[in-house]
């Protein structure tokens, strides 16, 4: 297994901590004028998202994690498993609902997602930054109704609920920023 020494540890490196794939988010050297150096490493667990810190001595090393991100096309879901395809090799992988997490509300078949693989298995599914979805359900929205701040909830074809302007109607296609879940424009 590949390892990194303390001079190789830097922000963005993928490492194994307690057998879990993690991303290095910060490093610092703690060193008294006289005495040995320590390296403080803050890392984020890819799966749980939790951030932890470890202090290491300069002769310590950390294990490299076989983590990489790849663009894959979402094909279909049977409710439990979500299937994605590598568009170059046509290899298919299946991710559990737990792995897909809240990304599920944005995914429409044939969308291109960023899949994070750990030892070949999907651990994080990131939807496209912007998606276009069709409105499945929303109130007609009366003109002049300002009680809801000029917007109303709308349920998308995928099940996601987005605040949309009053003029948006069932059957409209809208563009959404998946990072915030905000309506961007009519598509």
């Amino acid at each position: 297994m590949a390892t990194y020494n303390m001079n190789q540890v830097r922000v963005g490196l993928k490492i194994l901590m307690d057998n879990a794939p993690c991303l290095v988010v910060d490093t610092d050297v703690v060193k008294p004028g006289k005495g040995q150096a320590f390296t403080r490493v803050r890392y984020k667990n890819y799966v749980t998202g939790s951030v932890n810190q470890i202090t290491m001595k300069s002769s310590d090393s950390v294990e490299a994690a076989d983590v990489h991100e790849t663009e894959m096309q979402y094909l279909y879901s049977d409710g439990d498993m979500w299937t994605f395809m590598d568009q170059e090799t046509f290899e298919q992988i299946a991710a559990s609902s737990a792995t897909v997490g809240t990304a599920n509300q944005w995914l429409k078949e044939e969308d291109i997602c960023t899949v994070t693989l750990f030892e070949g298995n999907p651990i994080v599914i990131a939807p496209p930054t912007f998606v276009v979805l069709e409105v499945a359900e929303t109130d007609p929205g009366l003109k002049g109704d300002t009680s809801s701040g000029g917007n109303k909830p709308a349920t998308m074809e995928t099940g996601a609920v987005v605040r949309v302007p009053l003029f948006v109607q069932i059957g409209d296609k809208i563009k959404i920023d998946t990072r915030t879940g905000d309506y961007v424009s009519r598509a």
Binding site: N7, T27, D28, V29, V30, K31, P32, G33, K34, G35, Q36, A37, F38, N52, Q53, I54, T55, M56, K57, S58, D60
Partner: protein, 352 residues
Amino acid sequence: MTTDWRPTASLENLRLRAGVLEQIRRFFADREVLEVETPVLGSAPVTDLHLAALSTRYRGPGHDGGRTLWLQTSPEFAMKRLLAAGSGPIYQLGKAFRDGEAGSRHNPEFTILEWYRPGWDHHRLMDEVAGLFAAVLGSGGDGEHGQRPSAGAAAVTGAAAGGSGSGSGSGEKITYAEAFQRQVGLDPHVSTAAALAGRARALLGDAIPDLGGDRDGWLELLLSHIVEPELGRDGPTFIYDFPASQAALARIQPGPPPVAERFEAWIDGVELANGYHELSDPAEQRRRFNADLAARRGCGLPEVPLDERLLAALEHGLGDCAGVALGVDRLVMLAARAERIDEVIAFPVDRA
């Protein structure tokens, strides 16, 4: 388009830095301490296990095959040669270099202030260090006071209190043992490595390195992670009477427990200075050099030459003196209320 040609420090902080340098020179001029310059490139590095010197090759008359020169990690050895030659009190403000040290409070090339007081001990020197803090940072060097100059040379060198006073500033002085008892709850002079390790795990959790039977390693971990963040909250804190095993180049009082006549200074949890009542015995100095070399071999570190000229100067006679080295970049950080050293250095190593 690349923007990494730009300085990482604001021009305001660079003006503040210039003011700090000016204030330091005024402080020593007022006290008739002579400014000196010694080589950045020396024939020998320090032997300290935890300091790595950069080296370079010189080629020129008489050295056609090249000669290895070491970028000094501090000007200590050359300044002691000046003291032995009868210089009287001296200070130096210049660059020092330490390989491997880069982070929020470290840059491998940094500005060091080092000074020596013949006939003084470390306690008297601690008072003068406090006086310098007061001169540069304002009264008492207090971390929270409102008198710290905001920017500019004029503000720093102007009305900052204490600058031309008696030379003794305020500051808390406690022994290493007291600091450990207070924060860690253990006696650092007698606790075993196992006891220190157990306390470190209790206080810091499991996310710490295994330092095995390395007592000094555990002490250094506890000092830097538990004790240090609490030091210097209400003005400078000086810690003195270090464990004899961490004497470096300080004299040792036989005890019990034996303690090194060494001190360090902190403000706002930032380590600023390290000083000694200087070891002047050439035989003991050679013994410590050789112990360092043996420790370096044990760790697989490269062989380094001994500074025989320093040893010859000690043979001639260094006399009783105290000396201290101070990280000027960190002093500017405090003056500027900066969180990172990059904020006060124009071009840190990644933009050098």
